[in-house]
């Protein structure tokens, strides 16, 4: 079970509270996790990544296990602790406040 923490605005949009828990088939990557999120919550399409290019939106970052995964390949395996559900993948809105 993959755990994902979404930003507050996207939890509101998807009508969820707390973490998202997902079954992801095959390799656990940014792309496969995003595919699973968008399949479970279609209203999130386009809010985390572009619907055409599948690239992360500029003001969205991916963190996990105290690391910034934002610039990893979409198809690189996520950290083992994320793959086994020990740690969540954090989807974070960029720090852009004052």
């Amino acid at each position: 079970m993959i755990r994902v923490v979404l930003p507050g605005h996207l939890r509101t949009l998807a009508c969820i509270s707390g973490e998202v828990c997902l079954d992801v088939a095959g390799a656990i990557t940014q792309r496969s996790v995003m595919d699973a999120i968008e399949a479970a919550y279609p209203m999130l399409r386009g809010t985390i990544r572009d619907q055409r290019t599948q690239l992360r939106r500029p003001f969205v970052r991916f963190f996990a296990c105290q690391r910034d995964l934002s610039h990893e390949s979409l198809d690189s395996p996520l950290p083992q602790a994320v793959c086994v559900g020990e740690e969540p993948l954090l989807v974070v809105g960029a720090m852009a406040g004052g």
Binding site: P7, L13, M43, T47, R57, G93, A94, A96
Partner: protein
């Protein structure tokens, strides 16, 4: 009992304001989509329960929300706005070619006859249409692919298609306006387009009366006289009596003719409202006095309407989609401002207002036509958004 709903879009969310025909007290419902920037909300003229809203965020992009119950509940619908084919380039601010890229939906215009058909004006400038209640969107690419498209350039707010006007007597006729390309008209339901900017004169472009390149801010039409159009350009208030084929300036005695919104009285096709703004460099009312100007002569002769509006220290702007009129017997005029007036007295206002549109009362409220005609002639239902 007749009533009115005002759909309000702000940088902090959306609000639905409801009142009876007296419009003395208002129920404020919201914020919906709190914390998101709402570029526009508009209701279907043929189904008062059907509302559409453009929800936008610098972080999470574009969403379209739809309500089927007059705003009580909302559901996200389609937000995939893909340009047809390979979109090419337009001019960037520095004059270099810049790839067309979708940023957001500025304006939603529901069909006059079908609640499931709606048009969306987007940045970078293009017109989209949905015929399934907003679930899927198709570009009417003949506009963006006009031969002048590669020369269009953005205004300060981006290269946005911000105005869509549908002709109630001719379903094939659509008007749009783009900052800063100008006004365009289709006579074949959006397949092909022609610029309709003859008579406009603009500084800041190489040829002041060029075919395209004018920063049109807003176009308004009275539904019973669709061949007459009124335009607030960057500078200049303009009028066309031939469906945009040519325009004449009707700024007349306005103290400044810069501004953003323009609208027409619901029952008097020659009565027009604008909010003069000091200049393109100083986006606030002259001398800090918030004044709506009204012409009862279709332009040229204007009078200031100030009662109830702050006449000092008011340094706000009124954006292009932030004015609307209702259709009650005594026509109400509504507008909202970009900010709050700094004052020691408590004057609640709607901050960061981007849009306000009027929607007939929801059928759920069991309204009937107004019997009220008691308001004094010329009474001006001003600044409703300044009231709770």
């Amino acid at each position: 009992m007749a009533g009115v709903r005002v759909l309000v879009g702000t940088r902090k969310g959306a609000f639905v304001l409801t009142s009876d025909e007296r419009r003395a007290t208002w129920k404020v419902d919201g914020p919906h989509f709190a914390g998101w920037e709402m570029f526009h909300l508009k209701g279907s003229p043929v189904d008062p329960n059907r509302l559409y809203a453009s929800q936008s965020s610098g972080w999470f992009g574009q969403l379209i929300q739809r309500s089927d119950d007059g705003g009580a509940s909302w559901n996200p619908v389609g937000n995939d706005f893909a340009y047809a084919g390979v979109p090419g380039t337009h001019q960037w601010y520095d004059g270099t070619p810049h790839p067309w890229a979708f940023a957001r939906v500025w304006h939603l215009e529901p069909s006059l006859s079908d609640p499931d058909t709606i048009y969306a004006g987007v940045e970078d400038a293009a017109l989209f249409r949905s015929t399934d209640g907003g679930q899927s969107w198709t570009e009417l690419a003949g506009l963006r692919e006009h031969s002048t498209g590669s020369s269009w350039q953005p205004g300060a707010g981006g290269m946005c298609l911000h105005t869509i006007v549908l002709d109630p007597t001719n379903h094939n006729r659509i008007y749009v306006a783009i900052s800063a390309a100008g006004a365009f008209r289709s006579d074949d339901a959006g397949t092909t387009w022609k610029p309709i900017n003859r008579g406009l004169k603009s500084e800041g472009i190489p040829d002041p009366d060029a075919e395209v390149g004018h920063c049109v801010h807003r176009i308004a039409m009275h539904p019973k006289r669709p061949e007459v159009l009124f335009m607030q350009k960057h500078w200049d208030v303009m009028r066309s009596d031939n469906a945009g084929d040519s325009w004449i300036e009707v700024s007349g005695n306005l103290p400044t003719d810069f501004g953003f919104p323009i609208d027409v009285h619901a029952h008097e096709p020659e009565t027009v409202f604008v909010v003069p703004i000091k200049s393109d460099q100083q986006h606030f009312p002259l001398d800090g006095k918030l004044q709506v100007y009204r012409s009862k002569t279709g332009g040229n002769e204007w009078e200031a309407l100030t009662k109830g509006l702050p006449q000092r220290d008011c340094y706000v702007n009124v954006l292009r989609d932030a004015m609307a009129v209702d259709s009650l017997d005594s026509c109400g005029v509504y507008f909202g401002t970009t900010g709050v007036r700094c004052t020691c007295r408590p004057i609640p206002v709607t901050r960061g207002l981007r849009s306000c549109t009027i929607c007939p009362p929801s059928s759920r409220s069991k309204c009937k036509r107004s019997r009220d005609s008691g308001r004094a002639s010329g009474a001006f239902a001003h600044a409703r958004l300044h009231q709770r």
